[in-house]
């Protein structure tokens, strides 16, 4: 009966209840969505940054270089001379360097020319590593999305757009499929650098790479010690035709820029939640004023003050719980929609159904708002004079 009473009381004034619920729902949904997106972006960024201390590429925007060389979501800044690169990478401060050559795509997935060290941590689901020209290994998403397997063949498209010029006559042959890694590798077609060069040396649209010296697009560098990061970038930027960009620095700057927007949205969401708390408070307070006689009646029927206090608290808490649950549901629906967009545009998959620690804090905050909004109206039952109230009406 008590639960029925609580639910009936909440539903008795549907408009004010719906207003409180919607405010709670939107506050929770926005904060939850921001938390999940931020956490997944940061995780994605950091996963892909493993083992890369520095990127060497053509001069231009360092952020563009990082976004193109590591995440493959931007155009390359240009090409660099392999000879010039070789003069740098033999520096004893450098532990490992991975050459990259890219600029083509297969149905929007970047075709990356590199060596075996780029995928040394990835495991093969089927097949093997490329050994000859025009052999390719597919990341798990590329293979799954395009329904391809070992033995499949395909043609690359010049540039980043799927409607660019096709390198007709140059058929790649799939020799291996990688297991999912949770990194950008899942969305790459990987081949050797010789293949990329071969295709572009015989470019059939007249745009021939007729340079005498061999070129690559970028180099991923890992240092033996942090000293490398202090010496080499400056040296490269000042004495060569190349630029050196620190991915951690650039990504932190990018996240920082995004953070301004995220923090603004968070403040808006917090303001919405405070308004929701006020709405619950006003709703309960007004209702309690109207329900003064009902409260006195329940006391006359044997309800203790603590029981009435609990009923009013439960009304506020139930609203908070319903607001939180529906907010999380809306946040996940939003995430699915966002995932569809990010997946189509950037081959970036968000995991919609993970529950974050931050959301547990959000639950506690939501319940806290419910408690604070309910406790003052609820406390008034202790001051209720049953006899006077029932005699007054």
């Amino acid at each position: 009966m008590t639960l029925k009473l609580i639910i009936r009381n909440i539903l008795y004034k549907p408009l004010s209840t719906v207003l409180s619920w919607i405010l709670l729902l939107f506050g929770v949904a926005i904060i939850s969505l921001l938390l999940v997106v931020q956490q997944q972006l940061e995780q994605k960024f950091s996963n892909d940054l493993q083992d890369v201390d520095l990127i060497i590429g053509a001069k231009g925007s360092p952020l563009q270089l990082v976004l193109s060389a590591i995440y493959h979501v931007d155009a390359p800044t240009g090409n660099i001379s392999e000879n010039e690169v070789n003069r740098i990478i033999h520096n004893p401060l450098i532990q490992q360097s991975i050459p990259l050559a890219y600029g083509d795509n297969f149905r929007g997935y970047c075709i990356l020319g590199t060596d075996s060290s780029y995928i040394k941590k990835a495991q093969f689901a089927r097949g093997k590593l490329f050994h000859q020209s025009m052999e390719a290994v597919l990341g798990s998403n590329v293979a799954a999305t395009n329904n391809m397997d070992v033995g499949s063949t395909f043609i690359g498209t010049h540039g980043q757009g799927i409607h660019g010029h096709q390198h007709k006559g140059h058929y790649y042959k799939v020799v291996g499929i990688l297991r999912p890694t949770g990194t950008v590798i899942d969305n790459l077609v990987i081949t050797n650098i010789a293949t990329i060069r071969e295709i572009h040396e015989h470019h059939d649209d007249g745009d021939v790479d007729d340079h005498n010296e061999k070129q690559i697009t970028a180099v991923l560098v890992k240092f033996r010690s942090p000293m490398g990061l202090m010496i080499l970038p400056r040296m490269i930027n000042e004495t060569t035709n190349m630029q050196a960009a620190s991915p951690v620095l650039e990504i932190n700057r990018l996240v920082g820029l995004m953070g301004i927007g995220v923090i603004t949205l968070q403040y808006i969401a917090i303001a919405i939640m405070i308004m929701a708390g006020l709405s619950v408070f006003i709703s309960l307070f007004n209702r309690l004023h109207e329900r003064k006689y009902e409260m006195a009646l329940l006391r006359s029927l044997g309800y203790s003050r603590f029981r009435l206090f609990s009923i009013i608290m439960a009304e506020g808490l139930l609203l908070s719980v319903v607001g939180f649950i529906s907010g999380i549901v809306v946040s996940r629906i939003g995430l699915l929609l966002l995932n569809n967009y990010a997946s189509a545009e950037y081959h970036f998959n968000l995991q919609a159904f993970s529950f974050l620690n931050g959301e547990i804090v959000l639950l506690v905050v939501t319940l806290g708002i419910g408690i604070i909004a309910s406790v003052f109206p609820a406390l008034s039952v202790f001051k209720l004079n049953i006899s006077k109230t029932l005699a007054d009406e």
Binding site: M1, K4, Y293, L297, L301, G302, S387, L390
Partner: protein
């Protein structure tokens, strides 16, 4: 059984109200009459355990109410006292049935009680849809649902015509007798003196 001795009550800044001793056995009825302002409702609220800052001795079912804590008094009131107020108070968000059962220990008596009071057809209605007479009958049902030791009624006929007033008093007496409750009615309505022989006049 209800027994009150030496009850006095004083509102702030006003002279104390001194009430005569009274008693009422299970199944019996007692009328408390008096002019407006003589403290009839206050006495009823004391007898019902709604007011506890009185002096004197009050026993219901041999339990000394003066010794009970607030929470014990709440429980006792819920189980052993039924009150029919001057104006029928209801919880508007729930049905007539739920209003009757809101403080019931169980719902075994509901069907019989509803038939006795002719409100079976009203159980699923909301209180706002009831007539005054129907509200009064539902209030009586709610007061009797736990088979109380004491049934208290505050001006139960004040807004009713002769026919309905007689019907309500008959109902109260019948039901009190049926459930062996001590019936105490507070009123200034002289019509009731014909119906209930035992009465005390408050000055």
């Amino acid at each position: 059984m209800i027994l009150a001795k030496g009850i006095t009550y004083s509102y702030r800044g006003r002279s104390a109200l001194h009430y005569p001793d009274l008693s009422c056995n299970p199944g019996d009825a007692l009328l408390l009459t008096g002019k407006s302002g003589c403290g009839k409702t206050t006495l009823l609220h004391i007898l019902g355990g709604l007011l506890s800052d009185y002096k004197g001795e009050l026993r219901i079912d041999n339990v000394l109410l003066n010794n009970l804590t607030t929470t014990q008094l709440d429980t006792f009131r819920g189980q052993r006292v039924g009150i029919v107020f001057q104006r029928a108070h209801f919880i508007r968000s729930i049905t007539v049935k739920d209003n009757i059962l809101v403080a019931a220990k169980h719902n075994k008596n509901l069907q019989q009680l509803a038939e006795n009071l002719q409100i079976s057809h009203l159980l699923n209605n909301y209180p706002s849809r009831l007539s005054q007479g129907e509200q009064q009958r539902v209030a009586i049902a709610r007061a009797l649902i736990n088979k109380p030791a004491v049934l208290l009624a505050d001006e139960p006929t004040s807004s009713l015509d002769d026919e309905n007033a007689a019907a309500v008093i008959t109902l109260l007496k019948e039901q009190a007798a049926l459930y062996q409750s001590a019936l105490v009615i507070v009123t200034h309505d002289d019509r009731l003196k014909k119906e209930i022989s035992k009465s005390i006049s408050l000055l």
